[in-house]
Symmetry: C2
C-alpha cells in the first residue's frame, strides 16, 4: 500500500491541509494515484497517530479550523523505508478483457461499441496529453528536477494510453471480422 507514502511525499514538499492534499490527488497526482477525500483524511489521522506527521490548528473567522499538516523525522524514515522496497505492479483486473472473454458465449455487438468508445476516448486523451506535454515541458531547454519527474509521470500515462489504443484497434478489426462471418 502506497497511499500514506504518496501523502508523505506531498508533505515533504510543503505543509498542507487535508483539503490541499485532496486537491493534489484530483489534479497533479490524478494520473498516479487515486484517493478520495475520505481516504486522505483517514490516512492523515493514522499518520498523526504513528507520529509520522504533526499538525497545527489555524483558527479562521467564521470557518472551521484548518489543520495544517507537516511531515516529521519519523515520517521521513517511513517514506525512505518504503522507497527502497521493490514496487509492485497492480494485479491484473481488466474489465475490457473480461468482457472480451464473454464474447465466446454472448453476442459481441455491445463489445464492439465499448471498444469504439475506448478508441474515441483514448484519441481525445492522447491529444490532451500531447498539448500538456508541449505546454508544460516542451518550451524551455532546461527543466527543473521537479518538472522532469512530472514529465515522466505524464509519459507513463501516454505510453499506457497508446497501448490501450493499439490493442483496441486490433480488437475492433477482429470483432468486425467475427461479426461479419456470423
Amino acid at each position: 500500500m502506497s497511499l500514506p507514502h504518496v501523502i508523505l511525499t506531498v508533505l515533504s514538499n510543503c505543509e498542507a491541509t487535508g483539503y490541499d492534499i485532496t486537491k493534489a490527488f484530483s489534479t497533479t497526482i490524478s494520473n498516479v494515484w487515486k484517493a478520495s477525500h475520505q481516504q486522505v483524511y483517514r490516512e492523515l489521522t493514522k499518520l498523526a497517530e504513528r507520529g509520522a506527521v504533526t499538525y497545527r490548528l489555524e483558527p479562521q473567522v467564521g470557518k472551521p479550523d484548518r489543520k495544517v499538516y507537516a511531515i516529521t523525522p519519523v515520517g521521513t524514515e517511513v517514506l525512505e523505508a518504503w522507497f527502497i522496497q521493490a514496487p509492485k505492479l497492480a494485479p491484473p483486473r481488466d474489465e475490457y478483457v473480461a468482457r472480451l472473454l464473454s464474447c465466446e458465449v454472448l453476442d459481441p455487438t455491445p463489445m464492439l461499441e465499448h471498444i469504439n468508445n475506448l478508441i474515441a476516448e483514448s484519441q481525445q486523451l492522447l491529444n490532451h496529453y500531447a498539448l500538456l506535454e508541449q505546454r508544460d515541458y516542451g518550451q524551455s531547454t532546461s527543466l527543473t528536477q521537479q518538472q522532469r519527474l512530472m514529465r515522466l509521470a505524464l509519459r507513463r500515462s501516454i505510453h499506457q494510453r497508446r497501448a490501450w489504443m493499439a490493442w483496441a484497434q486490433e480488437v475492433r478489426d477482429e470483432l468486425t471480422m467475427l461479426a461479419a462471418s456470423a
Copy 2:
C-alpha cells in the same frame, strides 16, 4: 466489480468445481483477472444464494465431496446485464510513478535499480509472450473463435508490457543523467 461475471463466463463454457475455477484463474485467466481461491469460493456461495448458479454434490471414495457448479438462466441474465455495461478502466495506482515522485526529496539511486529490474523482467516476459503467441496461435491459418479471443487477451498483456518497457527506458535515461549531474 467483475469477479462474479468472470466466474459466470467460465461456467457458461462448462460445469466446474471451485477448484477448477481457481485453476483457471491461475492459468488461462491469470492475465485478465486475479482472484484467490478464497475469493472464488466465497463468490460461488454468493452466486448460489442469488440463484445464478446451482451445484450438485459428487461423492468420491475417500475424498471430500466435489461441488460441481453450473450456471442457471438467472446467471445468464446477470452475465448479459453486466456485459452491456460500459467497462471501466482500473483507477490509477502506480507504485513506480509514486516512487518516482519521491525522487524529488529522496536519493534516486534505489529507483534506478527498481527501474533496471523492471526492464529486465519485462524483457523476459515479452520473450515468453512471444513464444506463447507463436506456439498457440502462430501455426494454423484458421483459429477457432475461442482461440481468437484468448489471443487478444494475450495481445493486451503484450501491449501493456511493451508500454512499461518503453517508459522504463525513458526513466532510466533521465535518472542516469540526473544522478550524473548531482
